[in-house]
């Protein structure tokens, strides 16, 4: 449903060099996806979040200040999800029985955060933790339909934006700059030559799922979501050749 938007945004996210570009990117994604807000919160990133979480959000300054002054980061169950969960969290499933949580969500609603929300925990190489949340004003019925598309796209976008933050803030570990491994390069090279995953597996002498996994791994390193995209980026970075 959002395929074109997704592919384009994935391209754009890797071109971000500065913080303000990152913020512009989030605003662009909000508009293209018909969301109300997107928020990225870095929670446990070495050298970046030593004093406070790192936030790149589209929320109003009013909400940001209120959230900060109320100390909500300490009781927000969504933040807790980012710190301890692996699975995407639909805000509708959050237990709001505690009065302070009820107040938090009530105020968020009043300040225009959005009727619906979904958060995607991010785990990084060295134990980094981060969270990307999206908000929407869709009705419950619309949300039920849109959810699966948002989940599919933001599961990946969250990780790519996270890598971008690390890069822009200069705290990326050496691993994010690592070249492709021998197998990753091999499998991507054969993909560039137009071979299917099955054919690649036969040629290289590995299993089909294995070839697929190495390609996925290469895609992750290159911050790409489709094979053609990964091939294109690998070629432009000189990692593989077009035969």
């Amino acid at each position: 449903m959002f395929d074109n938007i997704f592919c384009r945004l994935v391209e754009d996210v890797t071109r971000i060099e500065r913080r303000d570009e990152g913020h512009a990117f989030l605003k662009q994604a909000v508009e293209e996806y018909g969301l109300s807000h997107i928020a990225y919160l870095g929670l446990n990133i070495p050298r970046l979040t030593t004093d406070a979480p790192y936030a790149a959000v589209t929320y109003s300054n009013e909400w940001i200040m209120h959230y900060d002054q109320s100390g909500y980061v300490d009781i927000d169950p969504v933040v807790r999800c980012g710190l301890t969960g692996l699975l995407p969290l639909d805000w509708a499933t959050v237990d709001r029985s505690r009065p302070e949580v009820k107040r938090l969500f009530g105020e968020a609603w009043e300040m225009g955060v959005g009727r619906q929300g979904m958060s995607f925990p991010i785990r990084g190489l060295n134990g980094e933790l981060a969270l990307m949340s999206i908000n929407s004003d869709a009705t419950d019925k619309e949300w039920a339909k849109l959810k699966q598309f948002y989940m599919r796209d933001f599961h990946m976008l969250a990780h790519f934006f996270h890598n971008t933050v690390l890069r822009v803030e200069g705290v990326a570990g050496t691993d994010t700059q690592t070249p492709l491994s021998p197998r990753e390069r091999q499998c991507l090279q054969w993909a560039a030559a137009g071979k299917t995953v099955w054919e690649t597996a036969q040629i290289v002498g590995i299993g089909e799922y294995t070839a697929s996994a190495y390609i996925k791994s290469a895609m992750h390193k290159l911050n790409c979501v489709t094979k053609p995209q990964a091939v294109g980026r690998a070629v432009s970075l000189g990692m593989i050749d077009i035969r």
Binding site: L83, L86, L87, S212
Partner: protein, 257 residues
Amino acid sequence: MIRQPLPIFKPTVNPPKTGHCLLADCLRRFSIAISKTKKWGEGAMIRLIQGSEKARNVAHVDQMHRLRKKIFFDRMHWDVNVVDGWEIDGFDDLNPLYLLSLDENEQVRGSLRLLPTTGPHMLADVFSTLLPEGELIRSATIWESSRFSVDLDAPSVRAENGVNHVTAELILGITEVGLAAGLTHVVSAYDLVMERVLKRAQCHAERLGEPQQVGRVKAVAGLFDVSNAMLKRVRAASGITGSVLEVQSARAIGLVA
């Protein structure tokens, strides 16, 4: 198809005095006995526990760590860490997603944990020798399964091909969670015995590297696809139909409206 034997009907200590009451009582108890006969998969379920839910599942987490100690330390003599009767390691501190197989009495009969390959995990940080030189798979859509444990002492139900019900449940649990979370593959390090078990369960794993000696055992890194095809195969092989997830857990991952 294997069926559980019917429980043996035993008369009560104080049987009713009159004839027709005795018959009614017999029929009542017989019908209870029938309803207690376990149909395949009935009563056993997979519960998902994420980091923040550990506090609400203290007893089950305790049982899980004790089961892991029984299997990996007591039985298999693996080089694992035991603290106060629990087998526990640094990866448990990373808030993995735990899958617990509970029997009809809510006792833990099996468990495993999932970690994303984008972060620290066993194949990257402990078992890298199981992967070819210089290779490591990392992707947001590929998670690792580890500490796959099944209590073989518990009364078990097995399919015709010998696959333990709990084993099949756990594999199906991973697949259902994976499909809901948009995963494409699962990786895991296991010994050659486990490899055979997975094969029998129609799990179709591919070896990522050659088996290597790791401590006492020969271990191998395996890779599975997360797909509806996998779901169908393992369900057919085990005789389990339908979801293995507890309702609350299914709801938590958006599978139930």
